[in-house]
């Protein structure tokens, strides 16, 4: 991936001033202008396009995990997955399926990995949401997932913390007499107070 040019301290200061005074719309526009992948979408930066329709493009990664590694991205600028409308996200996955199938047939590989990183902590490098589609061969050492046994209490704690948020996302009201035996009221109240602002995670890239 090409790096943006280095700025002098004066230029950085000027830039920070400029950013501070921008409206959210202006800021979004500014992010798009700075985004390398938006420039690939618009053709300002050349790329090897494998697939394109009105919503998405897929290009060959020039620094791949394996030969044939593709980056599938929405043409619209989104930083992280939660910002993407359902319709567009499900379209991306359908195209990922088609490209994966093509990979299995053309690259003579026995598997593919689909990989998404949301947020810097997840290893996201670019400020433009993308789905990696990676051709895989036995023993290539890419993306090892070493699962370990988790104890029962841990599983229950995770369920208690995540399930209400998920049901809320799905618009399902949870029955009041909670099935869980673990006490949760205090913890839950605390969590309500410091709900994560997804915009903060997305804006870490600016």
């Amino acid at each position: 991936m090409p790096n943006p040019p280095e700025l002098t301290p004066e230029q950085q200061k000027e830039l920070q001033e400029k950013l501070k005074n921008m409206s959210p719309e202006e800021l979004q526009e500014f992010q798009k202008q700075q985004c390398i992948f938006c420039q690939i979408v618009s053709g300002k930066i050349p790329s090897k396009k494998i697939y394109e329709d009105e919503k998405v493009i897929a290009i060959l990664d020039i620094n791949p995990a394996a030969k044939g590694h593709l980056l599938l991205l929405p043409k619209e600028h989104y930083s992280i997955m939660p910002q993407i409308p359902d319709e567009d996200l499900s379209h991306l996955f359908l195209i990922a399926k088609q490209l994966s199938k093509k990979m299995l047939q053309k690259m003579k590989v026995a598997g593919t990995s689909i990989f998404i990183a949301n947020g810097l902590a997840a290893g996201q490098r670019a400020q433009h949401f993308m789905i990696h589609i990676i051709p895989r061969k036995q023993g290539d050492g890419v993306l090892p997932l070493n699962e370990q046994l988790q104890d029962k209490e841990m599983l229950q704690n995770i369920k208690t913390a995540v399930q209400p948020k998920l049901l809320n996302q799905l618009g399902i009201k949870q029955k009041e007499p909670a099935v869980e035996k673990t006490p949760k009221s205090q913890k839950e109240e605390k969590e309500e107070d410091n709900d994560v602002n997804l915009d903060d995670i997305a804006n870490l890239f600016k």
Partner: protein, 162 residues
């Protein structure tokens, strides 16, 4: 032996179900790379992504996104990885298509970064040609130049019919 995910869907498992309907299961498995990992999979048994019907795959992707948000909110994480291991060569170790959503925090000890390869322009050009070329639906039945004398009559007649 039964499929582990089919067993989870049937309720015969130590894994905990967060949501289930006729088409999708969302579960906390009893194994994970890090506590908080959540798995989304179709209720019906499909081994790999290419065999999952489009409408089910679309629903799974939307569900994975909602699970990702629920993890951000419920576990107070600053990132998530969404991973599909498709095929045993990709490390898939259960014969049932699934999307894994993994909570991530700074310095959590996980590192999914792969060593990056450098490709030459020639290699990129070759891959581009390979992947942009349409996959033939049917293999050409005959390669005329390699035909031995013995098959000639049969192949000629096949050609004529075609």
């Amino acid at each position: 032996m039964g499929c582990e995910y089919c067993e989870i869907a049937a309720g015969n498992s130590k894994s905990l179900i967060l949501h289930q309907d006729a088409e999708i299961v969302v579960a906390v498995k009893d194994t994970s790379v890090i506590p908080g990992q959540i798995t989304v999979f179709p209720t019906e048994h499909h081994p790999i992504m290419e065999l999952v019907p489009d409408n089910i795959l679309q629903k799974c992707s939307i569900m994975a996104n909602k699970v990702s948000v629920a993890i951000f909110e419920g576990l107070d994480t600053t990132g998530t990885n969404v991973i599909i291991q498709n095929g045993t060569a990709a490390g898939q170790n259960r014969p049932h298509f699934a999307i894994e959503i993994i909570p991530r925090r700074e310095n959590d000890g996980l590192d999914f970064q792969w060593p990056q390869k450098q490709l030459t322009e020639d290699e990129l050009g070759y891959l581009f040609n390979e992947l942009t070329e349409d996959v033939p639906e049917e293999k050409p039945a005959i390669k005329p130049k390699k035909v031995s004398g013995k098959d000639n009559y049969l192949l000629k007649s096949l050609k004529r019919k075609a």
